[in-house]
Amino acid sequence: MSNAVEFDNIDVIFGNNQAKSLELLDAGKNRDEIAEATGDILGVANVSFDVPQGEICVLMGLSGSGKSSLLRCVNGLNKVSRGSLRVHDGDWMVDVTTCDTKTLRDLRRKCVAMVFQQFGLFPWRTVEDNVGFGLELDGMGPKQRREIVREKLALVGLDQWADKYAHELSGGMQQRVGLARAFATDAPILLMDEPFSALDPLIRNRLQDELLDLQDKLNKTILFVSHDLDEAMKLGNSIAIMEGGYVVQHGTPEDIALRPANGYVADFVAHMNPVHILRGRAIMQRVAKDQRTGSGDLPIKDENIRISLENGIIRAAHDGDLGELKLINYTGDLPTDLDPMDNSVIFVADDTVLLKDLIDMRGITQNPVLLTHEGRISGTLGRKAFFESLTQTASPAD
């Protein structure tokens, strides 16, 4: 998959002594030391990573960590002091750090749209005129604009509100208008600067779900700034954690949760609820590679259970005391006809299953869960690994 945005050694310094500050940065000085020496503020330091097309990448960190500063570089609201930042749209490529104002304006009108924390809606415009703002700037006529605006408002469920003013709407609805405005130009890249932080938790959750639904339909590339790890884990295909202007860890949500790079990340993770993020494959005991496609009996470590495999496909499971166990394939819903604590059954699930679903399965049977990858066994999840994952002491054996 091709990249939509590429950050290449990006430094951002706010102030008038750029050259001196960059020199100090190269000499390994931190933000406070640079501020003291030159009066400049270090916004972003030495950031390099790529955002593949169609992915949601979350920039995470405490306030002042540089996440918003980095986001704003993508559409040139912040000026990059050094490095190169490439934005791709199909075959079209722009280096934001070197392009002229005309190109930057084209980029903002057609390629990169933005959603703001405080919504940034114009109070003197109706909802309809707010959503059509980007199209209007580009010189589209009112009739054509109206059609697109109605369509985008329908997308966010606000088609009945087109003639209202922003302040007549609730916060959640205002941000839906903000979303519709960003969708209106059909820009493939979306910048979202803590878009849901100003909303109450219930509405925030609902908008997160809506965003994920919309993303399934629209398949945009989204850069999302958040200070809430739960939000980041829920939305992000990848997460970049920032501290003092640096990206301290960039990886999948599981990487971040299970292998925090330093104490700062670990502190974030410690306050996170793991059940919505961790997947079976991250916490399971892996089955050795040669057995994944092998045949014969496979004993499960720490349990009195053996499973019979045929080319890696699970055919049966046997308990030392109870005898033959009933295999249940988990496909998203639990069977309702089972008694709780029925130890005569054993679940088989794909190894991308979420920890919260594994908890449901464990609520029915004490037996370990068998995990598969493309139909063949890949791991098992016994009592020990299961409880360790909940207290996040798990260190998966790779």
């Binding site: 990169v112 114009f122 003197w124 209007e136």
Partner: protein, 282 residues
């Protein structure tokens, strides 16, 4: 102390000779300006006086009703204007109205662009601020004398003095409105690809509009407060009967003319003022 007073710096003389020089070498410029302005204003006054008073009163009433949808304001407007007709000050009121409207028009046409320019260029505002302070605080009579010399007796020196006095309000309030455009809105405008011109017309000016309108109403009020002084240099209008009343100690006439000024002020202020809870959002 003597050394300090021995040789007086000829500050006043410099200004006087500057005026003399201007009057001597550039008098045609000032007389042309004066003639053009006088022509415009007098024709407007002629038109306003020629129209039947009831038509103008009805127009004011309709404007009040249409803009503010308030029967109270409409009733007040109509009744108080009828009172002016009854008192016999209709013609003077129309003369004053014309003067105030043109003074406000010039103030806005010059003041709003100046306010916008100074909001975008802090150095310009640094220069402009003391000048505006000077224009507002220097006693009116002081610059009445040179304008009188340059433009001759009549409505034009009155208009120019009024503009000098009142222009600070729209400049300052436009400047204030533009610089207090919320940063979030500026960023929203920029992030969707505004050109600088689009940013001004689609974001900054609409956002500053309440402030600019406040500048307009203030400008009208300040212009009205100058009508008596304009009368001193020969401008027609409600100032004249006030000055005459002062000279003849005529309490009745002074009170009636003063009341007409107040009525005009209240009507113009209420009609121009935007309701604060209308479409302003947060």
């Amino acid at each position: 102390m003597e050394w300090l007073t021995e040789t007086k710096i000829p500050l006043g003389r410099w200004i006087a000779s500057l005026m003399d020089a201007l009057n001597e070498h550039a008098d045609f410029v000032f007389y042309t300006i004066s003639d053009v302005l006088e022509f415009i204003i007098e024709n407007t006054v002629d038109l306003l006086v020629w129209l039947p008073p009831f038509l103008i009163i009805a127009a004011f009433g309709a404007l009040a009703a249409w803009l503010h949808k308030s029967w109270k304001l409409t009733a007040f407007t109509v009744l108080s204007l009828l009172l002016i007709v009854n008192l016999g000050y209709w013609e003077a009121t129309m003369e004053t109205l014309a003067l105030v409207l043109y003074a406000s028009l010039f103030c806005m046409v010059i003041g709003v662009p100046l306010g916008v320019a100074s909001a975008h260029r802090p150095w310009l505002f640094q220069i402009l601020r003391p000048v505006l302070d000077l224009m507002q605080t220097i006693p009116t009579f002081v610059y009445l004398i040179p304008t009188l010399i340059l433009f001759g007796l009549g409505v034009v020196p009155g208009l120019i003095s009024t503009v000098i006095f009142a222009i600070a309000a729209p400049v300052r309030l436009t400047h204030l409105g533009i610089i207090s455009t919320p940063k979030a809105l500026l960023e929203a405008g920029e992030s969707f690809g505004c050109t600088p011109r689009q940013l001004l017309f689609k974001v900054e000016l609409p956002s500053a509009m309440p402030s600019i309108m406040a500048g307009l109403t203030q400008c009208i009020m300040l212009s009205l407060s100058m009508v008596v002084i304009s009368a001193l240099v020969g401008a027609d209008g409600l100032g004249k009967p006030v000055v005459r009343a002062l000279n003849t100690v005529n309490i009745a006439q002074g009170f009636e003319a003063g009341l007409a000024i107040v009525i005009l002020a209240i009507i113009l202020d209420r009609i121009c003022r935007r309701d604060t809870n209308e479409n302003t959002g947060q």
